[in-house]
């Protein structure tokens, strides 16, 4: 129970910081809206559903990357990670809280992205929404973990995409698959399995990422 309270306190802190600084969410919203407007005017004729679903996932992935790149900026710029690491809570609570905050920002961006996709291209089905939700969990969990690793390095802006994009490929495969086939159960199951596997890995090993 105390673990849940720690996660709640840390996630609340991240949401408050964003509410005050407005560094991440406006950038994500603008980016995802701009991407769909650009796609709308650059794609020739009537693009097929298969083509545009790929674009939807490109937009979601890079919007998430924008948020993930900023996830640990307050801790880096204000050097507050020492304070969190010294606190007697389980250090994985830092990862989980940061993942939840990033998930909230990503979901907010998708509240804009999915209607725009429907407006410019094709209707969004239930399977696509389910795939988006499951993919978000994996993207935020893995991305936050890698963001914490990258933030300690000088080449963090380069390192995060380099580490994250290969690991996100299974998510893209599962999500695109779930969005285009008539029976998406197998792909949604694959996404859920990915989320579970990487959540356990990140939860168990985050301690070693933040400890010297």
């Amino acid at each position: 129970m105390s673990y849940v309270r720690d996660v709640g306190a840390l996630a609340r802190k991240d949401l408050l910081l964003e509410l005050r600084a407005r560094d991440t969410l406006p950038a994500m919203l603008l980016f995802v809206a701009a991407v769909f407007v650009v796609f709308h005017f650059t794609l020739p004729g009537e693009p097929s559903r298969l083509e545009t679903i790929g674009l939807l996932w490109v937009a979601i992935l890079f919007t998430a990357l924008l948020g993930l790149g900023r996830a640990f900026v307050p801790e880096r710029e204000q050097r507050t990670m020492d304070g969190l690491v010294l606190a007697p809570c389980d250090r994985s609570a830092i990862w989980l809280a940061k993942s939840l905050a990033t998930l909230a920002f990503l979901l907010a961006a998708e509240v804009v992205a999915l209607p725009l996709y429907a407006l410019f291209f094709h209707r969004v089905g239930v399977a696509t929404v389910a795939a988006v939700l499951l993919a978000d969990l994996g993207i935020c969990g893995v991305g936050t973990f890698l963001g914490a690793m990258a933030v300690a390095t000088r080449a963090r802006d380069l390192l995060l995409p380099l580490l994250f994009l290969p690991l996100a490929m299974p998510i893209v495969v599962g999500a695109v698959g779930a969005s285009v086939v008539s029976s998406p159960g197998r792909y949604l199951g694959f996404l859920a399995l990915y989320d579970l596997l990487f959540a356990v890995i990140c939860w168990a090993s985050f301690e070693y990422v933040v400890a010297e």
Partner: protein
């Protein structure tokens, strides 16, 4: 409370600490001095549990929850208010009667009136006072203080003097300073590091 044997620390090829032996009993007050680059901050970070030695051993008689660390950075969020920062740490350290304790510390360090202001609007001295509130919030057994007087004006320094004198003997202190005369009446021992 704190014992190190042949403690050493290297960053790559650079040796920062070598062969540090210290024994700090419960209730002791050890003052660490030395010129810039002598390894004071590294030693204190190791003693607080923020860094690992590359040689030797360290035995800490206090759990992580019982260590209070003040470093060169205040470890508070600039976009949060003093109250929000202390509330966060109070929750993480499971401080009993958190609100009362936070209110008491903010009043003692002269920050009560500014408690709803964002730390970004604080002067350096006010931020250092808030950092001291953060360190004292959970009533730690072992206080590791790196240059605690830096940025404090005379009033702030006197407040800190009084706080240290009040806790002297009840808590264990490891304090690094360039001004050992300020705490010489409190100190039970000294460690001088050389470059």
């Amino acid at each position: 409370m704190l014992t190190t044997r042949r403690l050493g620390k290297r960053y790559g090829e650079k040796r920062v600490l070598r062969g540090i032996d210290l024994a700090l009993p419960q209730g002791g007050f050890l003052v660490v001095t030395g010129p810039n680059g002598s390894g004071k901050t590294t030693l204190l970070r190791i003693c607080a549990g923020l860094a690992q030695p590359t040689a030797g051993t360290i035995e800490r008689g206090a759990a992580r929850a019982q260590v209070g660390y003040l470093g060169h950075e205040p470890l508070v969020y600039r976009e949060l208010t003093a109250l929000e920062n202390l509330d966060l740490y109070g929750r993480l350290y499971r401080v009993a009667e958190r609100r009362e304790r936070i209110g008491m510390l903010l009043e003692r360090f002269g920050l009560w009136e500014a408690r709803h202001e964002r730390v970004a609007s604080y002067s350096r001295g006010m931020t250092q006072r808030l950092a001291l509130c953060r360190v004292l919030l959970h009533e730690p057994e072992l206080l590791v203080l790196d240059e605690p007087y830096s940025a404090l004006d005379e009033a702030g320094a006197e407040l800190l003097d009084a706080q240290l004198a009040e806790l002297r003997g009840e808590r264990t202190f490891l304090l690094a300073t360039h001004d050992p005369a300020r705490v010489e009446t409190l100190a039970s021992g000294a460690l001088a590091l050389a470059t």
